[in-house]
């Protein structure tokens, strides 16, 4: 019996091991084929074969695109980064043959191009040709945000992203749309349920995690690695822009619900005020953008955007925020040149600075300067007659782009926290009586200005 036991055990073990070995082999083969075929080969070191594949795929793609007269331009951050280092050289010798493949062979999974929607006709022919050339392609469509703000309009879904895949490389084509604030917008990349989640490693895409807002770029036709391609004229500023391009859509649906609850004030006064506020905001944006000063919608203007996607008609002023590190002495003269008179100036650059300009008629432009601390951000307030100081605390925030009254402007990305800090949890309920010294839920007393400084920190014109 014992003898048999031992033999049986041995036989069983070797059998299992054989089975496992076989299984392992099969599995490995399957795994390999998947990696090679459908998914991407994760090349750690750069092999020359892989390098030239990338270049070939890009070349094929550019051929496809030009055969259909579709103007695309390169926005790939990796390649633009490399190009930027040699930009002088590339600009000066636009046609020179390149001795080595320097840019398009750089190791990466994707090459990203941009396409302006209005410059091409959505034609099916392109995709057929692409298929003939061996590309697999994926189209990501979604709702048109330009109709989102509209009462119950439903248009066709628009293409936001295309991915063309050939061999081990993929081309990511981002579709840009013109928006009302005279800027370009691209949509987020969201996969619908039936889509192939492994078509490409989506996480590695440079565009699509969030929607983005960009200025219309000036383009330059260059020849790099023997390929003619359009690139943004100034790659470094494009890359800079890209790093904070995140765009927030206004919450149109919530805004509609709000209007249902609190019907919009359609009186002539409200219409007039909105018109004035809009033109004041346009003027302020123009002035500050010319100075290169970053600003965002603050207080009531921000609340109006967040709550009702419009100027609050009874708010009586336009409020902007600026980080104190972005403060420039030119701000006041620039506004004065633009025809806005300084109405008052409270505080000083080191503490609680606040500027107020008189716009057309009664509309006031308030600029609050924000001071960053380790765990919060604050801005200050001053009561003119008593010299009392106030401090308004906000949780830390970053800045996003949005579209507001036909303008591309920044707002805090963490808008809800920002609005709630300022207006409390009841921000959804319109309040007509607002006292800036006591109503905000984030206000703190901050002492009194020393009397000898009053002349400096309380200036009223």
């Amino acid at each position: 019996m014992q003898k048999i036991n031992r033999n049986v055990v041995l036989a069983l073990l070797s059998l299992t091991s054989l089975v496992f070995l076989l299984f392992q082999l099969c599995y490995y083969k399957f795994y390999l084929s998947q990696k090679n075929g459908a998914a991407f080969f994760k090349a750690r070191g750069s092999q020359s074969g892989q390098d030239s594949t990338r270049w070939h795929v890009v070349r094929k793609f550019l051929g496809l695109i030009s055969s259909h007269n579709i103007p695309v331009y390169l926005i790939d951050p990796l390649i633009l980064g490399l190009v930027d280092k040699d930009i002088e050289h590339i600009r000066s010798s636009p046609d020179g043959p390149s001795p080595e493949c320097k840019y398009f062979c750089a190791p990466r999974d994707f090459t990203t191009f941009a396409l302006l929607d209005k410059t091409w006709k959505h034609e099916v022919g392109l995709f057929r040709t692409a298929e003939k050339m061996g590309f697999q392609w994926l189209k990501i469509i979604n709702k048109d945000p330009r109709l989102d703000g509209m009462d119950d309009l439903s248009g066709m879904e628009i293409p936001l992203h295309y991915i063309f895949k050939l061999a081990s490389h993929a081309i990511h084509l981002v579709v840009f749309y013109e928006r009302s604030g005279n800027f370009l917008w691209h949509g987020p990349l969201r996969l619908k349920q039936h889509m192939d989640r492994k078509f490409v490693p989506f996480r590695k895409l440079h565009f699509g995690r969030y929607p983005g807002a960009y200025e219309k770029p000036e383009l330059l036709l260059v020849s790099i690695d023997d390929l003619k391609v359009q690139i943004p004229k100034n790659p470094s500023s494009f890359l800079e822009e890209m790093s904070h391009s995140r765009f927030l859509e206004c919450r149109y649906r919530e805004a509609r619900a709000f209007i249902q609850l609190y019907p919009d004030d359609a009186s002539l006064d409200a219409v007039e005020f909105r018109k004035k506020a809009k033109s004041l905001l346009h003027l302020a944006a123009l002035t500050l953008n010319n100075l290169g000063v970053k600003f965002w919608l603050s207080s009531g203007t921000c609340l109006g955007w967040y709550r009702q996607c419009n100027v609050i008609p009874h708010s009586k002023d336009v409020d902007l925020g600026i980080f104190i590190r972005d403060y420039k002495a030119d701000i006041i003269p620039a506004f004065q040149r633009a025809g806005l008179l300084l109405k008052h100036k409270f505080g000083k650059v080191e503490d609680s600075l606040e500027l107020s300009f008189q716009g057309e008629d009664d509309v006031k432009l308030d600029i609050f300067f924000f001071y960053e601390e380790d765990d919060h951000i604050w801005n200050g307030g001053t009561q003119a007659k008593s010299g009392k100081k106030f401090k308004y605390l906000f949780p830390k925030f970053t800045l996003c782009w949005t579209e507001f009254v036909d303008l591309k402007v920044r707002v805090p990305c963490e808008t809800l926290q920002y609005v709630e800090a300022n207006y409390g949890p009841e921000w959804k309920v319109p309040v007509k009586m607002w006292d800036w010294k006591s109503s905000p839920s984030n206000v703190q007393d901050n002492g009194v200005w020393p009397v000898d400084e009053w002349d400096d920190v309380i200036q009223i014109y």
Binding site: G149, D152, G155, G181, R190, R197, R203, A266
Partner: protein, 659 residues
């Protein structure tokens, strides 16, 4: 292992195999054997463990990768799209058709596709067309064959239906009174036994395939003139054919794919779906040289009149200089068929959920459409606004291209319109001539973005105000004294006879005889003279040149204007103040032009043509041009007829249709 001690003393077994022999031989080298065995077991164990680990690892890695690649990129919204029409593999359809005095219905496979039991409505023959392969409803029509001419429309429709389609007929109330021989013969040719003998208040249902079998027919005769036939209910089965058989075999192109999609869904569009030589759906008209409106968005405002939309888009896409990419069709409501038409032509369409009633709904639809247009084309300075019941002249865009700079530069302009309210066959003559008018004609016009964004949009009438958008736009608060530029001969033609404020009689009286330009590439004359101040100079020049007509004659008579050609004549009518249009209205009435409200005036002056002569009418003394009146001439005064009941109501309704 130690327990295992083979007994060497045991006699070798007879059947001892070679294996055992070999084993026993090895046994002698104990130490070596032991080592090998242990090694083998260990190796096996390790292999197994490593294998299991590897499997687990790769599993997890694969799973993570999947998670990873998709996270963040998932559409937050669950995809709730379910195929609208589940694919039905059934080959037979159950069809139920009911005909009676007060109710008709048709059910296909238990789904009611037609039900009409409304009082005083839906009288006549109801026709439903089904796709012979899918059973989908492709068209639904009712022809009130109790009334004259409706049977002709029915014949026209039935002739357009493709062979092989399934036709369902049912009568509600009465459908034979004006059902003439021709129509009866067509029904007979479809296989109906009863149709030739249909008579007063008979009930009738019929299901058949065009050019093929009859699936059933039922008929109930009316026993007496004053009573109706008994209700009839026809239950029958229809055998479906394969999809291939139901489709035409056009060459596989992008255009034909659109055509195929369209033709498998709807019926009643004639040759666009014929298998042989279908009518084109792409027109490629000549481009315009120096086209200034190529980048101007075109908003087509539509409701649920897909046949109109089809006709309209055909003419629009055939106009020289059209840019299909700039066209957006705004459909008021979730109607499928207009959207099908839009897709047939490869245009983009937007549907608008109705939010209000009647006039206010149209008005809200306009607002949404205009706002959306400027959102979609943020660069545009203008938008062309068209409606679904307009024919567009071949030189529509050429006309706009030549005049649009005026709208950009001249602040005193409100719009450019393609429509001349007074441009009838007998009152319009010169395709190259433009006017300035104080009224807003609509019907194909150009809107300036700044006007819309800064003035109109913010105070657009809200839904609860049941205002017509165009009446509102004509109000002095909005127009603020600005004028529109119009052509003498209209560049659009209003063909709609089914509309909110529209009926056949009204259309016949006011729109049918409207002149419509068909000449391509008309070079407009002296466009610069349309600027505010230039126009005054021009008018003074004209008046200076004009011959004063004999004011003793009756202006309504043809002989009032001499039988000449190409001359300029002027007449003076009485007009006490700016808003006194008594005489003008009477004159307009007898000249058979628009008289329902005042249109086409410029500072008390009207310009039109009579007998190919330019004919000017000046209101004295309200018009600043009154000074041109020779002192010997007494302005003509025409008495309005005694007020009739209802005479006021008509203009109010009618005027609204000018949208």
């Amino acid at each position: 292992m130690d327990e295992w001690k083979p007994n060497p003393a045991v006699k070798p077994h007879k059947k001892r195999s070679w294996y055992l022999a070999w084993k026993y031989k090895l046994m002698n080298q104990r130490a070596l054997r032991k080592l090998c065995q242990t090694g083998a077991v260990l190796f096996l164990l390790v292999t197994v463990i490593v294998n299991i680990k590897l499997i687990l690892d790769t599993r997890r890695a694969a799973y993570e990768e999947e998670e990873e690649s998709a996270q963040d990129y998932d559409d937050e919204m669950l995809n709730v799209e379910v195929p609208r029409h589940p694919i039905n593999n059934k080959k037979v359809l159950d069809v139920e058709v009911y005909s009676s005095r007060s109710k008709v219905y048709v059910a296909v496979d238990g789904t009611t596709v037609l039900e009409d039991e409304a009082r005083e409505q839906g009288r006549g023959i109801h026709v439903i067309v089904l796709n012979q392969a899918t059973g989908h409803v492709m068209a639904k029509r009712v022809f009130d064959t109790y009334s004259p001419h409706e049977d002709e429309a029915m014949v026209l429709f039935l002739n357009m239906v493709a062979r092989g389609r399934i036709l369902i007929f049912t009568i509600k109330d009465e459908g034979s009174f004006h059902l003439k021989e021709t129509a009866k013969n067509v029904l007979k040719s479809l296989g109906s036994q009863v149709a030739p003998f249909l008579s007063w208040r008979d009930m009738w249902t019929f299901v058949g395939k065009k050019g093929g079998e009859v699936y059933g027919e039922k008929h109930a005769k009316s026993p007496a003139l004053s009573t109706w036939g008994d209700p009839v209910l026809l239950k029958t089965e229809v055998h479906l054919t394969s999809v291939e058989d139901a489709e035409c075999h056009w060459p596989d192109t992008e255009l034909n794919r659109r055509r195929k999609r369209f033709c498998s869904k709807v019926e009643g569009y004639g040759s666009v779906c014929s298998c042989k030589d279908p009518t084109p759906i792409e027109f490629n008209p000549d481009p315009l040289k120096d086209n200034k409106v190529f980048d101007v968005p075109v908003a087509v405002i539509a409701g649920n009149r897909p046949n109109y939309l089809y006709r309209m888009l055909r003419s629009l896409l055939s106009a020289q200089g059209v840019n299909p990419q700039m066209i957006t069709v705004f459909i008021d409501g979730y109607y499928e068929e207009p959207m099908d038409v839009v897709e047939l032509f490869g245009l983009s369409g937007i549907q608008h959920t109705p939010i209000s009633i009647k006039n206010a709904r149209v008005s809200q639809h306009y607002k949404a459409s205009l706002t959306a247009t400027f959102n979609l084309f943020p660069d545009a300075k203008f938008a062309v606004v068209l409606e679904e019941d307009l024919d567009i002249s071949v030189d529509f865009f050429s006309f706009l291209s030549q005049s649009i700079h005026l709208l950009e530069e001249d602040e005193s302009l409100y719009c450019i319109s393609a429509w001349n309210d007074q441009g009838y066959e007998h009152t319009a003559e010169d395709p190259s001539l433009l006017y300035r008018v104080e009224t807003m004609p609509g019907l194909g016009w150009v809107l300036r973005k700044s006007l819309y964004k800064d003035e109109l949009e913010p105070k657009w009438p809200t839904p609860e105000k049941l205002w017509d958008w165009d009446m509102w736009m004509r109000m002095p608060e909005q127009r603020k004294g600005r004028e529109c530029i119009i052509p003498d001969i209209s560049r659009s033609y209003h063909f709609g006879i089914v509309g909110l404020n529209m009926n056949g009689y009204f259309h016949e009286a006011y729109f049918k005889k409207h002149k419509f330009n068909t000449v391509p590439n008309v070079q407009l004359k002296n466009v610069e003279s349309l600027r505010k101040d230039n126009y005054e100079t021009e008018i003074h020049r004209l008046l200076g040149e004009a011959e004063v007509l004999d004011h003793n004659k009756n202006p309504c008579e043809d002989s009032f204007v001499p039988d000449t050609e190409g001359k300029v004549y002027v007449m003076f009518i009485r007009m006490e103040q700016e808003a006194d249009f008594t005489t003008w209205t009477q004159l307009a009435k007898c000249l058979h032009i628009w008289d329902l409200d005042v249109r086409g005036n410029h500072k008390g002056l009207w310009r039109l043509f009579r007998k190919k002569n330019h004919f000017l009418v000046v209101g004295v003394p309200a018009s600043p041009y009154s000074s041109k009146k020779p002192s010997s001439v007494t302005p003509i005064y025409m008495e309005p007829p005694a007020k009739e009941e209802g005479a006021v109501a008509v203009p109010a309704v009618a005027a609204a249709e000018q949208t």
